[in-house]
């Protein structure tokens, strides 16, 4: 018997029991829908996070110092000295904390970062208007502030903040500039913060220890060399490798990809369980169908159907049911992804691989769970099958 013929017989058997076929399919529809929807959500999350990591720049190195014993950070001089290490082109030490900001009646809270003039270049975060911090601001511990775009918006609204006096933790500061809007970074907002001279921050926050240092490598290729040389000098200072951590974008990317990849797999795996349940539903209905059509099977056998003819017909039938369910589920999943995309800024997409995989998996489930019922049908004794009512 040709495949096409078996396919046509399957479709006609399916259409003869429309409601039942649909209910059977529903399990697969829900299964494939959830697999497709969850995997595309997972992939959306991955691309979102990857984008954020890539936004920090490919030649940026981040040093976090946890400290050892009484020393919980570097002095400004030690941090700046890292700039002369091989492979390093610039260094931007940072001292951060939380602070309250007051301008007239407005009172808000945001993070405060004490930085050096190189910060803007190293972090690739430019001034929108006004000026940035200069060396003289640090030398004289000037009480000047560069506002993040969100802070500027909240404190001043449409007013021009340049030259205005604000109070940071009760101390008077003059606003000298506003940063460009940059969007969220990893675990921090780039826009909801205020930059002041690092030396001023040391006094304000009563903390001399610098625990975060941004380092710019000479080029993306020299990142590894810079990491090695920076690690070497930090080891000399702390004599303990656990006292500091040195990260670059590539490290972060691989970590992030590992986490989101695991997450996506887990989501897909959980959703696949529902597909499995759908498969069991198919098996159940196919078994009923074999029993109901016992006489028909007997007729076919009397007319010369071989074991494989009956086997194929039932296998194809269950594959057609689950494949059709898979197709509907895929379309619903695609629809869900499109809706999520339209009504949120979460980038979801059903990739070609996911679509093919989901379809192949659903047909596979149909075949797998069809084997037993089909085998049962194919093994029927023709004499007994013909006697059935």
């Amino acid at each position: 018997m040709g495949l096409l013929q078996a396919f046509r017989l399957s479709v006609s058997a399916m259409l003869a029991k429309k409601l039942r076929s649909f209910l059977t399919m529903l399990g697969v529809i829900i299964g494939v829908f959830s697999v497709v929807a969850l995997i595309s959500l997972g992939q959306g999350a991955t691309s979102l996070v990857t984008e954020q990591v890539q936004a920090i720049g490919s030649n940026l190195i981040v040093v976090n110092i946890t400290g050892r014993g009484a020393r919980s950070g570097l002095t400004l001089e030690e941090a700046l000295a890292l700039a002369s290490r091989p492979g390093v082109s610039a260094v931007a030490p940072m001292l951060s904390g939380q602070a309250t900001y007051k301008y007239q009646a407005q009172n808000i809270s945001a993070s405060l970062s004490g930085v050096t003039p190189d910060y803007n270049a190293v972090r690739n975060h430019n001034i929108a208007y006004g000026r940035s911090l200069v060396a003289a601001d640090l030398d004289h511990r000037q009480e000047v502030a560069v506002l993040g775009s969100e802070v500027a918006q909240e404190l001043f609204g449409r007013e021009n903040p340049l030259g205005a006096n604000i109070r940071i933790n009760g101390n008077a500061f003059t606003v000298i500039g506003v940063l460009e809007e940059k969007g969220d970074g990893i675990g921090e907002s780039n826009d909801n913060r205020v930059l002041i001279p690092l030396t001023t921050a040391q006094r304000l926050l009563r903390n001399m220890n610098i625990s975060t240092i941004y380092i710019q490598a000479e080029s993306p290729e020299s990142v590894d060399r810079a990491v090695v040389s920076v690690e070497a000098s930090l080891k000399q200072i702390f004599r303990d490798e656990d006292a500091f951590g040195v990260f670059n974008q590539a490290d972060l990317l691989s970590t992030v990809n590992q986490i989101t990849g695991t997450l996506t797999l887990m989501l897909g795996g959980i959703a696949a369980i529902s597909l499995l349940v759908g498969g069991i539903g198919i098996m159940n209905i196919m078994l009923v169908s074999v029993t109901e059509r016992t006489r028909e099977i007997g007729i076919c056998k009397a007319l010369g159907a071989k074991k494989k003819d009956i086997l194929y017909q039932f296998l194809i039938e269950s594959a057609v049911i689950s494949g059709t369910g898979g197709l509907i589920g895929l379309m619903l999943g695609q629809l869900a992804a499109t809706l999520v995309n339209r009504f949120s800024d979460f980038p979801t997409a059903v990739t070609f691989q996911v679509a093919v995989l989901a379809l192949a998996f659903s047909v596979g489930v149909g075949i797998f769970f069809g084997i037993w019922p089909a085998n049962k049908a194919a093994d029927l004794n023709p004499v007994e099958a013909l006697r059935a009512q």
Binding site: S12, A13, A16, I299, A302, L303, G304, A305, K306, V383
Partner: protein, 224 residues
């Protein structure tokens, strides 16, 4: 054509052995029309199942068209049914969802013939039983006599040498029954070997030879 030698079929029902067929020997030559008659429970159906290659005997030899059937595998039996035997059942046994044409095509599908040729043969077979105008009707849209004639068309579409009919008129009124018998005698006159199982003496007497089976044994005619 058909040669049965000392065929036995034994069913085990717990401790008791039931001999449905108890040493049947029978020769049916090519082109012959034979009626097998007997009361219900006599072993008629079991004999038909064995002649029709639906079942194998417990012991004895069955040679169909020069081939020993009793040792064939299941697939070989299916092939023998497909090419050697045309079945006609009391309850027609048509596939309910398929049209008359599709039902008649079925044996040819299992033979692997391409669709166009199948259709051609099936149309010719339906024409022969006088159902040219009913090609695309489903069984439920046909009368009993018409359904049985579709079944006859299905039995002869594969050009099998033997037509095996099990109470072909059992479910029909006398007019339709006569119609069906007319078709069968016409087939016989064209050279088909006809084996008819019936309990209706009027039907049986249309065949040139009759054998009676009682309690799994042949009563008259014996092995000849």
């Amino acid at each position: 054509m058909i040669q049965l030698e000392n065929i036995r079929k034994t069913y085990k029902m717990g401790e008791i052995e039931v001999h449905a067929l108890d040493g049947i020997s029978l020769v049916i030559s090519q082109g012959e029309a034979l009626a097998i008659v007997g009361p219900s429970g006599s072993g008629k159906s079991t004999l038909m199942n064995i002649i029709g290659c639906l079942d194998t005997p417990t012991s004895g030899n069955y040679i169909l068209n020069g081939r020993e059937v009793s040792r064939l595998s299941k697939n070989e039996l299916a092939e023998a049914r497909n090419t050697q035997i045309g079945f006609i059942f009391q309850s027609y046994n048509l596939l309910p969802r398929q049209t008359a044409l599709e039902n008649v095509e079925l044996p040819l599908i299992y033979r692997g013939l391409p669709g166009k040729i199948r259709r051609e043969y099936a149309v010719a077979a339906l024409e022969m039983v006088g159902l040219t105008g009913r090609l695309h009707h489903r069984p439920t849209e046909l009368s009993g006599g018409q359904q049985q004639r579709v079944a006859i068309a299905r039995a002869l579409v594969g050009d099998s040498p033997v037509i095996l009919a099990d109470e072909p008129t059992g479910n029909l009124d006398s007019a339709s029954g006569r119609e069906v018998m007319n078709v069968l005698t016409k087939l016989h006159s064209q050279g088909k070997t006809l084996v008819l199982i019936t309990h209706d003496p009027n039907v049986a007497k249309l065949c040139e030879r009759q054998v009676r089976i009682i309690d799994g044994r042949l009563e008259t005619g014996g092995a000849n």
